[in-house]
C-alpha cells in the first residue's frame, strides 16, 4: 500500500528486476541497471524511478536527478539508518524535488523521522493504516532541529514568543 501525503495513493510504477524486460509503462529500476542502460531507458519516454539500496550513495544520481520522477530508498532492516542521510542529501545538496519513496523494512514509529528528512511516500505493510500513520506523525508536536521539512523549530517558536509583533 502506497501512502503519500497522508493518503493512500495509486501506484502507477512497476518495479522491474534486473534482466527482465521493461514494459511500456512507468517503471522502477535498480541504480546499476539505470547507469548501465541509461540511454535506452530514457528513450522510452515513460516516467522513471530508480531504486537505491542501502549503502548506495545518492551522489551517483546527481547528473540524472532531473530525469527521475521517483527515487526509491530500500530499507533492508529498520535498524539501518543510512536512508535518513540519503533522503536529506537528496533534498538539500542535490536539490531533488520529486517523490522519495521508502520501501522495505521500516517501523511505523520511524515514519515521523523519515518525513522530517524529506521522504514523502511510504510503501507500508498492510497491517498499518493511514490513521496509524496520522497518529504517528502528530504524537510529538514540536521539533528541536531544523530539517528539510521546513518545520518551525522550538528555537524559532521561542524567538517569536519573545518578539513583540510590529504594530
Amino acid at each position: 500500500m502506497l501512502v503519500k501525503a497522508g493518503r493512500i495513493a495509486e501506484d502507477s510504477f512497476t518495479p522491474v528486476a534486473d534482466g527482465e524486460e521493461l514494459p511500456d509503462a512507468p517503471v522502477i529500476v535498480s541504480l546499476k541497471r539505470f547507469l548501465a542502460e541509461h540511454d535506452s531507458i530514457l528513450a522510452r519516454r515513460q516516467p522513471l524511478g530508480v531504486r537505491l539500496e542501502s549503502g548506495e550513495s545518492p551522489q551517483e544520481l546527481q547528473p540524472y536527478l532531473s530525469e527521475l520522477a521517483v527515487v526509491v530508498l530500500h530499507i533492508p532492516a529498520f535498524r539501518d539508518g543510512r536512508a535518513f542521510s540519503a533522503a536529506r542529501l537528496l533534498r538539500t545538496r542535490l536539490g531533488y524535488g520529486n517523490e522519495i519513496r521508502l520501501t522495505g523494512h521500516f517501523l511505523l514509529d520511524q515514519i515521523a523521522f523519515y518525513t522530517r528528512v524529506g521522504v514523502d511516500a511510504f510503501d507500508v505493510a498492510p497491517n498499518i493504516s493511514v490513521a496509524d500513520i496520522q497518529t504517528a506523525l502528530h504524537e510529538i508536536s514540536d521539533v528541536y532541529q531544523p530539517s528539510v521539512d521546513g518545520r518551525v523549530t522550538i528555537r524559532d517558536l521561542r524567538t517569536r514568543r519573545t518578539t513583540v509583533p510590529p504594530s
Binding site: S57, G81, R82, F84, F113, I140, V143, Y144, S147, R158
Partner: protein
C-alpha cells in the same frame, strides 16, 4: 540550571503518553516483544536478568532538590526503594514493572525529566564535568554547550538510527573530569591566542571490546559552528560506519579503519557543505539565552581563611580526612566543592536509597544548594558550599552514612551492575568491589596509598570503565566459573591511557589478594608521594608480574 519552558515540557509529556499507548498495545498482545523492543529501548527500558530496568536521563548530571525527591519517590513507589547512579551520570531503577513505566515517565515529566535516548543507537545522554560552574580551572561552564547539544540531539530526525550508540562528553577545562578522551566525541572548551572561546573536538575514543583513545579532529571549532561540525561528523559516521557487525559498529572502529587523516578529510568536506547552507549556525543570542540558565549563584564576598573551619579540621581528624579527599578548590574564595561519596565500605558503588536521596535533598535545602551533580565516578557533588558550612555538612552527611572520606582513593571504586542484574555480564562486579573495599577499609592506609582508581566491569562491554582504571578488573566467564583479569596503568583523565592486561586471571577469592599484592608492590616501589599510576608508568608491568605470578 536549565528550566523547561512550555515546549520542552510538552515534548516529554507527549513522549510519556506515546509510550503509554505502546505499552498498552504490548500488554494487549498487539505487539510482540520483538516489535516492542525498539520502542521500549527508545524510552530507556531494558529487559534484564530478573526484571525490566528503567534508565533515567540526568542531562550532564545536574539535579535540583525537587528532582532528587521525585527520584526518591519513584524508586520507593515503583521500585525497591533505591536507585543506581551510573557512569553516564544517569540513574537506573533495576526492578521496574512494565505496567508502571508510563506512570513513572509521567512522574519524571512533572519535574522536567525523561528517559529519552538512554538506550538505542542514538546520541545518548550528554555528560559533562561534575564540577561545572565551580571549578577553579574552568574556562566556561560546559553545561551551556551540553544543554544546546541535548536539544539538538533529542529526537534528531537523521541520527536516531546510527550504526551504534553514540556518547558525547564536554569538559570546561584542560583538566579532564569527564573522560572526554574515551568518548565517541569528546569536547574540550578552550581559549585561543586571541582570547576567543571555542571547542577542541576529539573523535573515536571509547572502551568496550576494542578500546581506543580519541583523536583530535578539530583543533578549534568556533562556537557558532559547533552544531554544523558535529552534524558533519555524525553524517560521515551514519553513512560509513559499519553495520554488518555490532561489535565493529562504533565510530572508533571507522576512525581506526580509515585513519584519522581520511576521517578528518571527510568531515571537513561535509562541514564545508553544511556551512554553505547556514542552517545550523548557532546564533550568539541562543548561546546567551541558554547561558543565562547557568548563571552562577550570587556568591558572597568571603574571607578566604575561615578560622572555625581551620579549627574544626585541627580538632577532628575524621573531618580533616574528609576535607583532604572530598573537598576541591572552588573558583570563588571562601567556597568549596564537596563530593558525597556513594562508596561507603561494604555498600554497592553508586547505589543510593530513597531515604538517602530525601536526606540529601534536605541537606541541599539546609545549605542553600540549588543543585547537585552526579559524577561519572558514581558519586554526588555539592558544587557551591561555603567553607564555613563544611563541618555542619559533614556532620549531617555522617548521620546518613554518606561522609565516607574516600574520594579518589582505593575504595572509591567504579563498578558496573554486573551479573547480579545485567544479562550481558559474565561475572559479578559488585561483590568484588565490596570485598576490595573491605580489605582496604582502614582509612589511614587508604590515605597513605593516595590517588588510586579501581574500575571493575563484569564483561568486555566495559560499563565499569576497567580499561581506564589505574587498576582495572575485568570479569570473564571461564568454563562456567567467574574469573577476573587485572589491567594496570589506565587513566580516563587528561593523561588518558589504556590499561594493559597483566597476565592470567584470578578466581573470586584470589582477585582481592591479587589487588593487594599489586598495591603492596607499588608501595615498595614508589618514591615519595608518587601516585600508583606514575609509579606504574615509571617502572612498567614487570615488577608487578614478578610479584603476582612468582612460583
Amino acid at each position: 540550571m536549565y528550566r523547561y519552558d512550555e515546549f520542552d515540557a510538552r515534548l516529554v509529556h507527549e513522549r510519556a503518553e506515546q509510550f503509554r499507548g505502546q505499552v498498552a498495545r504490548r500488554l494487549a498482545g498487539e505487539l510482540t516483544e520483538d516489535e516492542f523492543k525498539p520502542l521500549r529501548l527508545m524510552n530507556g527500558l531494558y529487559l534484564q536478568l530478573h526484571s525490566y530496568m528503567l534508565r533515567i536521563a540526568i542531562p550532564y548530571g545536574t539535579l535540583n532538590a525537587r528532582q532528587l525527591r521525585k527520584l526518591a519517590f519513584i524508586a520507593r513507589k515503583f521500585d525497591r526503594g533505591y536507585g543506581h547512579f551510573t557512569t553516564r551520570q544517569n540513574l537506573q531503577l533495576h526492578w521496574a514493572r512494565l505496567p508502571d513505566v508510563p506512570d513513572m515517565l509521567l512522574e519524571l515529566a512533572e519535574v522536567e525529566m525523561h528517559c529519552l535516548q538512554t538506550s538505542g543507537n542514538c546520541v545518548r545522554n550528554i555528560t559533562a564535568d561534575p564540577f561545572a560552574g565551580a571549578a577553579a580551572d574552568e574556562i566556561e561552564d560546559p553545561r551551556i554547550l551540553s544543554e544546546i547539544l541535548r536539544q539538538w540531539s533529542t529526537l534528531h530526525p537523521e541520527f536516531s538510527f546510527l550504526p551504534r550508540k553514540f556518547k558525547i562528553a564536554v569538559s570546561g577545562s584542560s583538566a579532564d573530569r569527564a573522560a572526554i578522551m574515551v568518548h565517541d566525541i569528546g569536547i574540550e572548551i578552550l581559549r585561543n591566542a586571541r582570547g576567543e572561546i571555542g571547542y577542541r573536538v576529539f573523535v573515536g575514543g571509547g572502551l568496550g571490546r576494542t578500546p581506543f583513545i580519541g583523536h583530535e579532529i578539530g583543533s578549534f571549532v568556533p562556537k557558532s559552528d559547533i552544531l554544523a561540525f558535529l552534524e558533519a561528523v555524525m553524517r560521515v559516521y551514519n553513512e560509513s560506519g559499519r553495520r554488518d557487525n555490532i561489535h565493529k559498529a562504533r565510530i572508533k572502529i571507522l576512525v581506526h579503519q580509515i585513519g584519522i587523516e581520511e576521517m578528518r578529510r571527510r568531515v571537513e568536506n561535509e562541514f564545508a557543505e553544511i556551512k554553505k547552507t547556514g542552517v545550523l549556525q548557532l546564533p550568539q543570542t541562543e548561546m546567551t539565552r541558554i547561558a543565562a540558565y547557568f548563571a552562577p549563584p550570587n556568591f558572597a564576598t568571603l574571607s578566604p581563611a575561615n578560622a572555625d573551619f581551620e579549627a574544626a579540621k585541627r580538632d577532628n581528624r575524621d573531618f580533616a580526612n574528609w576535607v583532604k579527599t572530598n573537598i576541591h578548590a572552588h573558583k570563588i574564595p571562601g567556597y568549596a566543592i564537596a563530593t558525597i561519596s556513594l562508596k561507603a565500605i561494604g555498600e554497592t558503588p553508586g547505589d543510593c536509597s530513597s531515604d538517602e536521596m530525601d536526606g540529601i535533598a534536605d541537606i541541599m535545602d539546609a545549605f542553600g544548594q540549588a543543585e547537585i551533580r552526579v559524577t561519572h565516578e558514581q558519586n554526588l557533588v555539592l558544587p557551591h558550599m561555603r567553607e564555613a558550612d563544611l563541618f555542619a555538612l559533614w556532620q549531617r552527611l555522617a548521620a546518613l552514612n554518606l561522609a565516607t572520606a574516600n574520594y579518589g582513593l582505593v575504595t572509591d571504586i567504579i563498578a558496573c551492575p554486573g551479573l547480579d542484574y545485567c544479562d550481558l555480564a559474565n561475572a559479578r562486579s559488585i561483590p568484588i568491589a565490596t570485598a576490595i573495599a573491605k580489605r582496604f577499609a582502614d582509612l589511614e592506609r587508604q590515605h597513605d596509598l593516595g590517588e588510586l582508581k579501581i574500575k571493575i566491569s563484569g564483561c568486555i562491554n566495559a560499563c565499569g570503565h576497567h580499561h581506564v582504571g589505574h587498576i582495572g578488573i575485568l570479569g570473564v566467564d571461564r568454563k562456567g566459573v567467574e574469573n577476573y583479569q587485572i589491567l594496570l596503568g589506565g587513566s580516563g583523565a587528561e593523561d588518558a591511557s589504556l590499561g594493559e592486561i597483566l597476565g592470567p586471571g584470578f578466581d573470586r577469592e584470589g582477585i582481592v589478594d591479587a589487588v593487594e599484592n599489586v598495591i603492596d608492590t607499588y608501595k615498595n616501589l614508589r618514591s615519595d608521594s608518587e601516585r600508583f599510576l606514575d609509579t606504574y608508568r615509571r617502572v612498567g608491568a614487570q615488577p608487578f608480574k614478578e610479584r603476582l605470578y612468582a612460583r
